[in-house]
C-alpha cells in the first residue's frame, strides 16, 4: 500500500492511502466525523489538501478506493474510462486540474469533451481544494443538455420539478397542488410525485392520472412517480403509460444493494423505458436521486468519505444517459450535514461534480427540522446554484412537503430566481405558459397573467 505524506509548519502528516488522503482533505462535515474518517484538526485537513493537490491524476487510475474485484461501481469507473478524452489533462496533478478548470482553455466545448476522461474520484478530489466560487465558476461553464418532451439544461434556463405530494396520495389533493404549481409557472422538469404508499395499484393510478393531465392540457413536460425501479418495470408490463424511470442510486455496490438494485437492473429499467418510445424530442428518460451520506447510512462506504462516495454515484448515473439527476442535499439529516454551511457546500460540490462528469445536474435545496438550517440558508444555496447554472430545482407549495415532512424550494422561490437572475423555464414549456396566458418573461422578468386560463377556470368550477 503506497503512502502519502506532507510536511508543513515543522510537522509531517502521513496518510495511509489515497482513500484516507481524500477523506482527510474533505472540508468538515458531520457524516465524515460519524464515520471516523475526518481530519483530526484543521491543520491536518489543509495538509491533506496540500498533499492531495500534488497527486498526479494518473494515480487515480492505478489506486482504486474500493477494490476492482469487490465492487461493480469501481469496475464501471475503470472499464468506462476514456483514455483519449483524458489525454489533454493526463500530465496534470490535482492542483493543476483546479487551475486548468478555472482557466480560459476550459470552456463549454473542452469541458464537454473532457467529461468521459474524468473519473468521479478525480472530480471529488479537485472539489475538495476548491472554494465555493471555484465550484460555481467552473460549473457555470459546463452545459449538459437532455431531452424528453422538452429540453433541459440550455443556457439561461432553470427547470422546476413540480412535486405535488399528498399524505394519502389523494387524487384531488394532488390535483390541487398541481393546479397551484402550474399556475405559478412551475413543472417543466417534470410533474413528479413521491407516493405515500408503495402499492402497485396506486402507483399505476397515479401514472395514469399524470399522463391524463399532460395530455388534456397539452403540457410539454414529463411525468414521474418515484417508486422502486422494479415497480416501474412492472407498471410498464401492465401497459401503464410511464415517461421517466426513477431510482435512488449510490456510489458503492453494497449501498446500491441496500436499495435493492444493481447495474444490471438499472439497465433493464432503462431498456423498458426506451421500449415505450414516449419522448417526443429525445430519449433521455432516467431520473436519478442521490445524496451525500447514503452509503454511510447503509453501512456500505468502505472507508470512503461521503463526498467521494456521492461523486461515484454519478458514474452510475451517466452510464444511463439520464434526463435529470437530483442531489437531495439536506434531506438525510444533521448526522451527515449538520447545518446550513455544510448543506450549502455539499449542494455546490455535488452540482459541480455531476456537471463535470457530464450529468444534467439539479438539486433538491432542502433541510429537515432537526438540522441547524432555515429558509435563509436555502435562499443562499438557491441563489448560488442559480448563478452556477443548476439544471433544475424542486417546486412545492409554500416550501412545505406535507408527505415527506421536510422543506424544499417553493413555486415562489423559483419565481424569485427567475426575477433576480433572469432564468427561464425550458423553451417548449415557456411557450406553453405564454400560450395559456399563465406567465410571460419580457426582459427576463416573469409576469404572471391577470386571469385564469379558460381550461383551468373550467377545472376550478368542477372542484367547487
Amino acid at each position: 500500500m503506497p503512502s502519502y505524506s506532507h510536511s508543513v509548519g515543522g510537522q509531517t502528516y502521513r496518510f495511509d492511502s489515497l482513500r484516507q488522503l481524500l477523506a482527510k482533505a474533505s472540508p468538515a462535515r458531520s457524516g465524515d466525523y460519524l464515520a471516523g474518517l475526518a481530519a483530526r484538526s484543521a491543520s491536518e485537513r489543509v495538509a491533506a489538501q496540500m498533499c492531495l493537490a500534488e497527486v498526479p491524476l494518473k494515480r487515480f487510475l492505478d489506486e482504486a478506493l474500493i477494490p476492482y474485484e469487490q465492487d461493480e461501481v469501481t469496475r464501471l469507473i475503470i472499464d468506462s474510462h476514456d483514455t483519449a478524452a483524458f489525454a489533454p489533462i493526463s500530465h496534470l496533478c490535482v492542483g493543476d486540474l483546479r487551475d486548468w478548470l478555472l482557466g480560459e482553455q476550459a470552456d463549454e466545448a473542452s469541458l464537454g469533451a473532457l467529461a468521459p476522461g474524468l473519473t468521479p474520484e478525480m472530480v471529488a478530489a479537485v472539489a475538495k481544494i476548491m472554494r465555493l466560487q471555484d465550484l460555481i465558476l467552473v460549473a457555470q461553464k459546463v452545459r449538459v443538455v437532455s431531452r424528453f418532451r422538452n429540453t433541459q439544461g440550455l443556457a439561461g434556463r432553470m427547470g422546476t420539478r413540480l412535486q405535488p405530494n399528498h399524505p394519502t396520495d389523494d387524487a384531488a389533493g394532488i390535483a390541487a397542488s398541481l393546479f397551484d404549481g402550474l399556475l405559478y409557472g412551475n413543472g417543466d422538469a417534470m410533474l413528479g410525485i413521491n407516493p405515500a404508499t408503495d402499492s402497485l395499484a396506486s402507483i399505476c393510478e397515479l401514472l395514469r392520472m399524470l399522463d391524463g393531465i399532460i395530455q388534456r392540457y397539452e403540457i410539454p413536460t414529463q411525468a414521474c412517480v418515484l417508486t422502486h425501479i422494479t415497480s416501474a418495470i412492472e407498471a410498464i408490463n401492465r401497459g401503464v403509460p410511464l415517461d421517466l424511470m426513477f431510482q435512488s442510486i449510490a456510489g458503492t455496490q453494497a449501498a446500491n444493494a441496500s436499495f435493492g438494485i444493481n447495474l444490471q437492473l438499472l439497465q433493464e429499467g432503462y431498456e423498458a423505458g426506451l421500449s415505450l418510445g414516449r419522448g417526443s424530442l429525445g430519449h433521455n428518460l432516467m431520473y436519478f436521486e442521490t445524496g451525500q451520506g447514503s452509503a454511510l447510512s447503509a453501512n456500505a462506504h468502505h472507508g470512503v468519505d461521503q463526498q467521494t462516495c456521492e461523486a461515484r454515484a454519478y458514474a452510475v448515473a451517466r452510464q444511463f444517459k439520464p434526463f435529470l439527476v437530483n442531489t437531495v442535499v439536506g434531506f438525510i439529516g444533521p448526522e451527515y450535514l449538520y447545518n446550513g454551511k455544510q448543506i450549502i457546500r455539499a449542494g455546490l460540490e455535488d452540482h459541480f461534480c455531476g456537471k463535470l462528469l457530464g450529468l444534467p445536474m439539479g438539486c433538491d435545496i432542502c433541510y429537515t427540522n432537526h438540522a441547524e438550517a432555515d429558509q435563509d440558508d436555502m435562499d443562499n444555496l438557491l441563489t448560488l446554484l442559480g448563478v452556477a447554472g443548476c439544471t433544475f430545482i424542486m417546486g412545492i407549495p409554500g416550501s412545505d412537503d406535507v408527505m415527506l415532512n421536510y422543506q424544499t424550494t417553493s413555486f415562489h422561490d423559483a419565481l424569485y430566481a427567475r426575477q433576480t437572475l433572469g432564468l427561464r423555464p425550458a423553451p417548449e414549456f415557456e411557450a406553453w405558459l405564454q400560450r395559456m396566458g399563465i406567465m410571460t418573461q419580457p426582459q427576463g422578468r416573469p409576469h404572471l397573467g391577470d386571469s385564469l386560463p379558460p381550461a383551468f377556470r373550467q377545472a376550478l368550477a368542477q372542484a367547487n
Binding site: 460519524l34 389523494d170 393546479f179 388534456r216 448526522e335 406535507v402 404572471l448 377545472a459 367547487n464
Partner: protein
C-alpha cells in the same frame, strides 16, 4: 379610481377553494411574485415550533412523578443535544453508568420481565410531554389484563429507538415497547412514535421492529394506537417473533382520509 390599501400590495389566488382538498400550502397569493407577509410569517412560526420541539429538554423526572408505578431515570451515551443530533450511534446505547445500574437491577431481579416500557425524547420532547403518559397508562392496562409482568418504566434522555434493545436485554425482558418523539414536521411538532420488539437484544435492526407512528391529536388516536399495539403484542407472544414477519393486520375501522372529490383536473 381608488383601490383598497390591502389589495394594492398583494394578489390573492382565485383557487383558494382548493385549499380544502389538501393540507399543502397552496393558494398563498403573492406580493409581486414573492410570498406575501402573512404566509411568510405563518411558515416562520411553524418552523419555530418544530425547532423548539427538537430542542425542548426532556422533563423525565416530572414524568416519573406522574407515573403510577416504579421507574428508572436513564441517559444515553450522547452527553448533550448537539452530540445527540450528530452521533446517532451514541443515542442508541446507554451511558456506562446507566448500563451498570440496570445490571445491578437485574442482579436483584434475576427472574426478568415479560414487557419493558421505555420512553425517550427522540427528536421531540414535546411529543413525549403531551402524549407519553396517556399512552403508558393504556399500555399498562393492556399488560395487566394479559397478565404480563412489567419492568419499571425506563425514561431515557437523548435516546434513539435502538436504546430500547439494550434496556430490555439488560433487564431481561421478553418484549419491549419504546415511545419517543418523531422528527417534527412543519405542521406536526408533537408526533409520537412507538416501536415494538419481541426478544429484544443489542444489534437488531428495524427489520425486527414494528412501528406505529403519527400518534397525536390530529393523527392516530391513543385508542387506535393501543388497539394496534395489543394486536401486535398478542401475535408476537404467540408466534415468538416481531418485525417484517409480523404484519399489522389489526381490524381497525377504515379511516377515510380522502376528500371524496374526484380529480377535478380530469373530470
Amino acid at each position: 379610481m381608488h383601490q383598497p390599501h390591502t389589495l394594492a400590495c398583494t394578489r390573492e389566488d382565485a383557487w383558494q377553494p382548493l385549499r380544502r382538498l389538501t393540507p399543502a400550502r397552496i393558494a398563498l397569493g403573492r406580493a409581486g411574485t414573492s410570498l406575501p407577509t402573512r404566509a411568510q410569517l405563518d411558515f416562520q412560526l411553524a418552523h419555530a415550533q418544530a425547532r423548539d420541539a427538537v430542542h425542548l429538554p426532556f422533563a423525565a423526572a416530572e414524568l416519573a412523578e406522574r407515573l403510577p408505578g416504579p421507574s428508572l431515570l436513564l441517559h444515553s451515551a450522547a452527553v448533550d443535544r448537539d452530540t445527540y443530533l450528530q452521533r446517532p450511534d451514541l443515542g442508541r446505547c446507554l451511558s456506562q453508568q446507566c448500563a451498570e445500574r440496570l445490571d445491578q437491577h437485574r442482579a436483584n431481579n434475576p427472574e426478568g420481565y415479560d414487557l419493558a416500557l421505555v420512553v425517550a425524547d427522540g427528536l421531540s420532547a414535546l411529543a413525549v410531554e403531551r402524549h407519553a403518559l396517556p399512552m403508558l397508562q393504556r399500555i399498562e392496562q393492556l399488560a395487566d389484563a394479559e397478565g404480563w409482568r412489567l419492568a419499571p418504566t425506563c425514561l431515557v434522555t437523548q435516546g434513539r429507538v435502538a436504546v430500547a434493545d439494550e434496556v430490555a436485554e439488560r433487564l431481561g425482558a421478553r418484549m419491549v415497547v419504546i415511545l419517543l418523539g418523531e422528527r417534527p414536521g412543519l405542521s406536526s411538532p408533537d408526533s409520537l412514535g412507538l416501536y415494538f420488539t419481541y426478544a429484544p437484544r443489542v444489534g437488531l435492526t428495524d427489520a425486527s421492529r414494528n412501528c406505529i407512528s403519527n400518534i397525536r391529536l390530529e393523527g392516530l388516536s391513543y385508542a387506535m394506537a393501543s388497539h394496534r399495539l395489543l394486536y401486535l403484542m398478542r401475535e408476537a407472544w404467540r408466534r415468538q417473533l416481531s418485525g417484517v414477519q409480523l404484519k399489522d393486520e389489526a381490524q381497525v375501522p377504515h379511516l377515510s382520509g380522502t376528500s371524496r372529490v374526484a380529480n377535478f383536473l380530469l373530470d
